[in-house]
């Protein structure tokens, strides 16, 4: 009826998967920003060494840009059809493993009591997410990103 509401073209499953992947990475980015703000406010972190705070993000951003520029695409792309049972079990296990790992990583982040190191650590995780987003567009990337998000949330609910 209404041409504005209708989608511009029929979407394939690979396109849908790509969209979900993008959403998931946006959620993770938001969660990391939220984590950073929460820790800053909760622990009353002070800017003690201003120069270090400015340079902290470069530690991870510069290698990321370098790797992104020289590495060829690792992606196998998104599948059009369904995933098999073995694949689903395998990637669910990977997701659970990364969830546990990132619960520990978030725990370690709370142990950091210097603003510049915390900033650098969060930027490093963010760089990993962007690397996965741009180079490994695959179900493996999706499991890792989901694991990171769930790990942060699980820590925030149960252990923080």
């Amino acid at each position: 009826m209404n041409p504005i509401i209708q989608p511009p073209k029929p979407r394939t499953n690979a396109n849908k998967r790509e969209l979900l992947f993008t959403f998931q990475s946006i959620i993770v980015t938001g969660l990391l920003a939220f984590t950073a703000i929460a820790f800053f406010l909760h622990f009353n972190l002070r800017i003690e060494k201003g120069i270090k705070v400015i340079f902290a993000p470069f530690l991870s951003v510069v290698p990321l840009l370098f790797v992104l520029s020289i590495l060829r695409d690792l992606r196998q792309g998104f599948k059009e059809g369904n995933y098999g049972k073995n694949e689903i079990i395998k990637f669910c296990l990977i997701t659970i493993g990364i969830t546990i790992a990132f619960t520990c990583v978030t725990f370690l982040l709370t142990k950091i009591d210097a603003l510049e190191i915390l900033l650098a650590a969060i930027m490093a995780i963010l760089s990993i997410v962007f690397f996965l987003r741009s180079k490994i567009k695959d179900i493996l990337g999706m499991s890792i990103i989901t694991g990171i998000a769930e790990g942060i949330i699980v820590y925030m609910i149960f252990l923080f």
């Binding site: 499953n13 979900l20 998931q24 939220f34 929460a38 406010l41 059809g81 995933y83 989901t146 609910i157």
Partner: protein, 155 residues
């Protein structure tokens, strides 16, 4: 087969969310006091969303139902009726409970918070997995009645 898997995923995610909320209640959330509580609440609301995206990502085939104009036209009326009925039932039951027990909802904010976050989680679930318009009506009704109760009907 895919429908069955989706149902299983739905039930598991609901179950995990319920566990999280029960945990929060037993933690003693009589009031929201510090920044920490706010963070936990936000995290608990966000909890099911990445899981859902992952499930949707894996089980993309035969995603249901198709959100077509015909489907919408067919379900507009029942969904609207359900919305109105749920709002009335929600407001009346909350007033009734307050009147019977003689206590205010504001004194037990955890219940309001519990209803709120459970409904929001189910809302997201429904939106991503099912897109069922009738369920949408009921959930919207619960949220609206809670909002009406808190904003307008309490002195």
């Amino acid at each position: 087969m895919q429908l069955k898997k989706l149902n299983t995923a739905f039930i598991i995610t609901i179950g995990v969310s319920v566990i999280v909320f029960v945990y929060l209640v037993f933690l003693g959330y009589d009031e929201i006091k510090t920044l920490k509580d706010v963070i936990k609440i936000i995290a608990s609301i966000l909890f099911p969303i990445p899981l859902l995206f992952f499930v949707r990502f894996i089980l993309i085939e035969h995603f249901l139902p198709e959100n077509t104009d015909a489907y919408k036209l067919q379900h507009q009326k029942p969904a609207t009726i359900l919305l109105v009925v749920t709002i009335i039932i929600g407001v009346v039951s909350m007033q009734g409970v307050e009147w019977v027990t003689g206590q205010k909802l504001e004194d037990h904010l955890i219940f309001a918070h519990l209803i709120n976050s459970t409904t929001i989680s189910s809302y997201v679930l429904n939106y991503i997995l099912y897109n069922n318009l009738r369920v949408n009506g009921i959930l919207s009704g619960v949220l609206l009645s809670l909002a009406i109760h808190v904003f307008f009907l309490t002195a």
